[in-house]
Amino acid sequence: MSNDQRDFGFHTRSVHAGSRPDPNTGARALPIFQTSSYVFEDAESAAAYFNLQEYGNTYSRIMNPTVAAFEERLANLEGGAGAVAFASGLAAQSATFFTLLEPGDHVVASAALYGGSITQLKHLFRKLSIGLTFVDPDDMENWRAALTDHTKLLFAETIGNPGGNVLDIASVAALAHDNGMPLVVDNTFATPYLCRPMDWGADIVVHSATKFIGGHGTSIGGAVVDSGEFNWSNGRFPVIANPSPAYHGLAFHETFGKYGYLMKLRAETLRDLGAAMSPFNAFLFAQGLETLPLRMRQHVANALKVADFLSTHDKVRSVRHPGLPDSPYAGLVDTYLPRGAGAVFCFDLNGGRQAGREFIAALSLFSHLANVGDAKSLVIHPATTTHRQLSDDELSAAGIGPGTIRLSIGIEDAEDLIWDLDQGLAAVQAQGRYTD
């Protein structure tokens, strides 16, 4: 049996997909092609590359062999037709929308998104005259009720933040498809090791690679993966199906079939918006993917142990980890996240803002910073940092209490993490009533 007929496992594909030994040098590690541009063999080849008649390298804003290896590896792990990498997760997300949407279109999105995504959608869409409705993602009726004749896509996260909302991907995807539109899912918190949204009907997956994919908090990056399954020629997406004025009349879906959306995303949107991933960052992300399944197992096991510990502590009001047996999302976790419900979650201290300050100040192993998905454990108190301008009422509307703490659990020894959290909780003096 040849390699082509073998169904290789996730760990094997994490290490090998997208990167064969370099044909020119034999280098086994992924070479970093630190070059802005590429010498053409001849004039005919140059024309063929720019016309997209041949797969060729022209300029690293649009493609780069190191970046391509990362793209293919991620696409393979997600089960997609391909991927396009971007300079950040938010760049990947905005490029996804920019490729699909036109003024007058409308989007329905989960209200339980990462704060940066909420801001991006609210303000970018307003400037582009694109309509937007945020919905509580837990009730299918909310999604259904928000659809309009102009709605072109649904958008949500596999695991939401800060509530730990788990998306019923199959149901939301079915609603999207019944109405002739794709479901776009941000799979950053789950990674393809814990959940592959396309297996459940999602059409496009976006990632902040900065988090678990890179895994070590070294680099900013993002990516878009497309399943290649959505029918862009259904009459609702002339922007993909019709001849493109931005590419000398090329009809991307007809010409490239299942690769049409990705080609347009790369050859037009990445070309025009310019937020390309650097080759060095792509090397680090491809390297990160090699150990993704190993790290994720430790992340989720540690996170569950920490959540268990916190849920019995008398200074803790509640723990919002979807993997706990009493979580409202326990059923959805069984379906969509059987290997673990992620490693980023929030809990609430009884003592409000002052308790949050005291708790963070006493920690000595958790790093106090604004990121998640690092090998190192991270902590932040939204009410005194990222959301400090908000009143208690405004915090509550965002699902954040004055005593809410967000943890990103790393791959250290769980016993050491619990030790640190225990001493942090011991230092909390504030007893103020929690205000809902």
Binding site: S2, N3, D4, Q5, R6, F8, T12, R13, H16, A17, G18, R20, P21, D22, P23, N24, G26, A48, N51, L52, Q53, E54, Y55, G56, N57, M63, P65, V67, A68, A69, E71, E72, A75, N76, G80, A81, G82, A83, V84, A85, P243, H248, G249, L250, A251, E254, T255, G257, K258, Y259, L262, M263, R266
Partner: protein
């Protein structure tokens, strides 16, 4: 008919070993998918035989009105036509001794596939010849597509 049954990597790579390809429905319009495939395959050393009654010459090769008019044998018959036209094309492909019937994206004809198989041809359905060449022999991996190729063997530079 399950199209996945006619997408065997071994059959696809055997078809790519042929050197002469009749492309039924090849257009001279550079923006048509058939032209993308014909241009690409010719660039990679294949001899292209255009079959299209509406063309006289495509990619510097004479175009024939039908497969029956092609004077020399071809290894692969690659089809860009309405699925309803495929049974007749399959009969002509059998008559001229072609080894592979290759049906492009969306060209799905159970009857046409049956005719080819019954006469000992090998069949590929709902796959693009350009994409498959790029996957196994070319540079599809340069643009971040999922080739699904997993190998630690060094390819020649």
């Amino acid at each position: 008919m399950r199209v996945e049954d006619y997408q065997d990597p071994t059959v696809i790579q055997a078809a790519l070993n042929e050197r002469r390809i009749a492309i039924v429905g090849l257009s001279s319009n550079e923006l048509r998918p058939s032209h993308f495939v014909g241009y690409y395959m010719q660039r990679h050393g294949y001899q292209i035989v255009p079959v299209n009654p509406r063309e006289t010459e495509v990619l510097d090769e004479a175009s024939y009105p039908s497969l029956a008019d092609v004077p020399e044998p071809v290894g692969v018959v690659d089809v860009f036509r309405d699925p309803a036209a495929v049974p007749a094309i399959a009969r002509e492909a059998v008559a001229m001794g072609a080894k592979f019937l290759w049906l492009q994206y969306g060209v799905i004809s159970e009857e046409g596939v049956g005719i080819a198989l019954d006469s000992g041809m090998q069949v590929i359905v709902d796959r693009c010849m350009k994409v498959e060449h790029a996957r196994y022999r070319g540079r599809m991996h340069w643009l971040g597509f999922n080739t699904e190729v997993i190998s630690a063997n060094r390819k020649p530079g």
